[in-house]
Symmetry: C2
Subunit: 462 residues, 2 copies
C-alpha cells in the first residue's frame, strides 16, 4: 500500500500527521501534543487509535509521555529519550527516572535503593571546620591559578592514588565538577556518535544514561563476583570491537563485587590486544578496608583512565571530581573542560584539600568504614532471616545486590514499595539489556527502618 | 599524478605516512610526532620538507603544534583543533590559547587584556561572611534537594531578572556550574554537528571555542555600537538559516556596546520569521547603571534562552551559573545536566544566595559599578592622550574595544607586549572570520600600571 490518507492505516496517518508537524516546526521540541481526546476530535478517529499512534511515536523516541501531564515532543537531540540499547526504555527501567528519584526530596521516605550515604553519615563537621578556617583567611580561593585545577588538591590525589598502587603525577590529574562530569568529559574526548562502549551487566545506571546522551552504542558483559565474565568479555570484545570499557572495578556498583587480580590481568590483556581503552570509575575507593586490584594500578594509566570524587564519601555539597590519565592527553582534556565549563570548583577543591590535610577526612572515613561494615553485617543477617541471600557479600561499601524470591518482578515490587514510602532500585535499571529484573540494589545504610523489613516479609510471604 | 611514493610529492609522502600511522593507531591521539630532524633522517627527505608536511597536517587539524615541545596527534574528536570557520586557526588567534592565558598565573604581569576583575575587586569579604554564617549552621548544603538546583537561589534569580524586565518563574531556571556550562548545555540540547550558529563579529572568544567543540558551523554578523548590523543580520539569517544566534546583548563582550531597543525589536522579528533561537549570555548584567534592552525581556523567553552567572561580578570561586528558558524545555535540560554533571554546586548556590539576601552582594556591586565608571573614564582619557579613541565608549562594564593606530597588527603587538609582561587580547581572537586584528580589548580595571601606557606610547610613536 502506498502511504497517504487512502492507503495508510489510521494509526499511521496520525503518526505521519504528528511527524509532519514536528518536521515543519509547528510543534517545537518540548511542546505538548494535543490531548488524546482533542486529537481524536480533530482527526475523526477513535481515541484508541490516537493512543496507539502516540504510543508508537513514544516508542520511536519522537515524543515523550509524562504521566499526568500528557505527551511532549522530544528534545531536539533527544539525547536521553532515544535509547540505543537492545530494548526500548520503559519508565520503570529508565535510568534518568532513577537518577531523578535519587535526588528528589521525599520527606519520610525509606530510601532503601539510594546510592548515597544518609546525610548524617557525611562529613558535615569536617566541612564546617574547613569553612571556618577558610573564612578566617584573607585570600579567596580563585579559579585563576592552574588550568588543571587547584594544585595542592592534585598533589594530595597523586599521593592518595599511590596508596592504591596507581602512579599518577599531579600533572596527570585534572579536577572536574564531579565524577559524572569526569566521565562525560572523557566520553566527549574519546567517543564519536555510534561508537561502541562495553559496560558490565549490571552496571551503574548513569553509565547507560550518559552513553545515550553521547549516542554511543552499548554492549554488555555479564558480571561475576570477581569481575566481568572472562569468556564473555573476550568474545564480546572480539565481536563488537568496543572503543571503551567503562566499569567500577574495586568496588562495583550495584553488586559490591571486588575485582580479582586474575580478572584485572586478563581483562587488561584482552583490552590491549583489541586496543580498547578502560575507564575505571573509582569513586568508592575510600570505602575499602583492604586495597583490591585495580586496572589503573596494573596498567599504569597507559590505556586506563581513572575517575574519582569525594561526593560519595565526604559530601556531595563540595563538587570536586577528578580524572587521572595519560600525560599526553591531559592538556587536551583540560582544554575541553575549559571551553565547556571553564574551570572546576576552586572553593570545593580548597575545602576538601583542607579536610584531607588536617586529617579530618581520614578520621571521618575510618568512622564511615566501621559503620558501613556493621550495617552490611546487620542487613545481610536481616535479609537472611527472610530467606534472602545477596548475590555476593561485598567486601566493603554500601551496595547489596539481592535476588528476589521466585517470580517477583523488581519493577512491580518497586512500584508497590513506593506506595508505602519505600524507594527501591529495581534491577533492570542497572542492566544494559533490561535484564536482572529479579534483583534489587539495596543501600545497607538506608535499610534500618522496621517498616522496610515488614514490607519485604510480606512480599516474600505472598 | 597518482598518489604513492613515486607520483606523490615529498611533502605529500610524509603527510600520507603520518596519516597512515594515525589511522592504524600506531600514533595514538595526543602522541608526540617524531621530531623534524628524526623524521628527516627516517625518510631521507630534508628538514624543510618535513616542516612543510607538519605544517600542512597542523593546518588540517590532524596534528597540533605546541611551541617548545613539538607536534602532537590531535585529540580523537579534535573538537578544539578543527576550526569550522572561514580561516584556519593560527596560534595567535586561537581562542583556547587566549582562554588558557586568561587563567595562567603570571606573577607581576599587567593583565590589560583580561576578562575578569582584579582579585581585590571581588566580593571576598562578603563571601567570607557567608561562609562563616554557613559554618555556624548545623545543616550541610546538599545536592539532594531539587533537580533544578537550590530553590531559594532560583527564587532570587527570578526576582532579579524581573528587575531587567525578564519574566522567568523559578521553575524556568536551572542552576549550572558556570555561565560557560550553561551555554554548553544549551548547545548540547539544541545543536547537531554541522548546524549553523550565528555570532557577532567580534564576539566573546569562548563562543568560538565552544562551537568548535560542538562541531557547529559558525557564521558571523558585524557589530555596531547599537547591536548587530541589521541589514547584514537579515541577509545572513536568510542565506544561512542559522539554528541559533549567541550573543551578549546589554553589555557586549568585547566591545562594550549596548543593544538598542530598535535593534532588539528588529533582531527578534527577523529571528521569529526565520524560526531561529537566540541565546543571550547576560553575565555582565549587574554592571549596568541603567537597564538596557534585552532580547529576553522583549521576547519573554519564548525563543530566547537567557544565561547568567556571578563569576564576573562576585567571585569565580563560587561556581553558580544559571539558565532561564521556556517552561517546557527546562525539565529536559535538567535531565541532560543530571546525566552529564549530576547536580550543580550546592554550596556555591547557598553562599551566593546568602550574599544576595543579606544585601552584601548589592553593596559590593554598588561599589564595583562606581569603581568601574571611574576606571572607564580614566582609561578613556589616558588613551585619548595617546591619540587612541575607543570604537565606542561603553555605558558600563570593564571592556574597551580600541582600534590601534594605522598599520599596527594586534597579534604582533600582543607578542611584543608579552615580552614586557603585558598580556593583551588581540582583536582577531574575538573574530569568527579572524578579522579585527587592528583592535585590542582592554580591561579598564587592569590598565593602571604606568608601564602599560609607556608601552602603548612607544608603540604609537613607532
Amino acid at each position: 500500500m502506498l502511504p497517504g490518507s487512502g492507503g495508510e492505516t489510521r494509526v499511521g496517518q496520525i503518526v505521519a500527521l504528528v511527524r509532519g508537524r514536528i518536521e515543519r516546526r509547528v510543534l517545537l521540541p518540548g511542546a505538548r501534543l494535543p490531548s488524546v481526546r482533542a486529537m481524536a476530535e480533530t482527526t475523526g478517529f477513535s481515541k484508541s487509535t490516537v493512543v496507539e499512534a502516540y504510543d508508537r511515536l513514544a516508542a520511536e523516541g519522537v515524543i515523550r509521555a509524562r504521566p499526568g501531564s500528557g505527551f511532549f515532543v522530544a528534545a531536539p537531540l533527544a539525547p536521553l529519550a532515544v535509547a540505543d540499547v537492545e530494548q526500548a526504555p520503559r519508565r520503570d527501567i529508565d535510568p534518568v527516572w532513577m537518577l531523578r528519584r535519587s535526588i528528589e526530596d521525599l520527606p519520610g521516605a525509606i530510601r532503601a535503593g539510594s546510592g548515597t550515604l544518609p546525610t548524617d553519615w557525611l562529613a558535615g563537621e569536617a566541612m564546617r571546620k574547613a569553612m571556618r578556617a577558610a573564612a578566617r583567611g584573607n585570600t579567596l580561593p580563585s579559579a585563576d591559578v592552574s588550568v588543571l585545577g587547584y594544585g595542592p588538591m592534585r598533589a594530595l590525589l597523586s599521593r592518595r592514588m599511590l596508596e592504591q598502587g596507581v602512579e599518577a603525577s599531579p600533572d596527570q590529574i585534572l579536577l572536574t565538577e564531579s565524577g559524572t562530569h569526569s566521565l562525560d568529559l572523557v566520553c566527549r574526548f574519546l567517543l564519536q556518535p555510534g561508537d561502541t562502549v562495553l559496560l558490565d551487566d549490571p552496571c551503574f545506571f548513569n553509565f547507560l544514561a550518559l552513553l545515550r546522551a553521547h549516542r554511543a552504542r552499548v554492549v554488555a558483559v555479564p558480571m561475576t563476583p570477581q569481575g566481568p565474565d572472562l569468556a564473555a568479555f573476550a568474545e564480546v570484545v572480539a565481536r563488537e570491537k568496543p572503543r571503551l570499557y567503562i566499569t567500577n572495578s574495586a568496588v562495583h556498583n550495584p553488586t559490591g563485587a571486588t575485582l580479582s587480580a586474575t580478572h584485572a590481568h586478563r581483562v587488561l590483556k584482552i583490552a590491549e590486544a583489541a586496543d580498547m581503552l578502560i575507564v575505571e570509575d573509582d569513586i568508592f575507593c575510600d570505602f575499602e578496608h583492604v586495597t583490591a586490584s585495580r586496572y589503573a594500578a596494573f596498567d599504569g594509566l597507559d590505556r586506563v583512565i581513572r575517575i574519582g570524587s569525594f561526593s560519595k564519601t565526604a559530601t556531595n555539597a563540595l563538587r570536586c571530581g577528578h580524572v587521572a590519565l595519560r600525560a599526553d592527553w591531559v592538556e587536551s582534556l583540560a582544554d575541553l573542560r575549559l571551553v565547556t565549563t571553564y574551570v572546576g570548583n576552586p572553593l570545593g577543591a580548597e575545602l576538601l584539600a583542607a579536610m584531607v590535610t588536617d586529617g579530618s577526612y581520614r578520621h571521618h572515613m575510618d568512622m564511615v568504614r566501621n559503620r558501613l561494615a556493621r550495617a552490611m553485617a546487620r542487613v545481610v543477617r536481616r535479609l537472611g532471616d527472610l530467606g534472602l541471600e545477596p548475590w555476593t557479600v561485598p567486601a566493603c561499601g554500601m551496595s547489596l545486590w539481592v535476588p528476589l524470591p521466585g517470580g517477583l518482578d523488581a519493577s512491580v515490587l518497586a512500584g508497590e514499595a513506593l506506595e508505602e514510602g519505600i524507594v527501591l532500585a529495581p534491577g533492570a535499571v542497572f542492566s544494559p539489556r533490561g535484564g536482572w529484573n529479579d534483583h534489587v540494589r539495596l543501600n545497607v545504610t538506608q535499610c534500618d527502618d522496621p517498616r522496610f523489613y515488614a514490607f519485604l516479609a510480606r512480599m516474600c510471604a505472598s
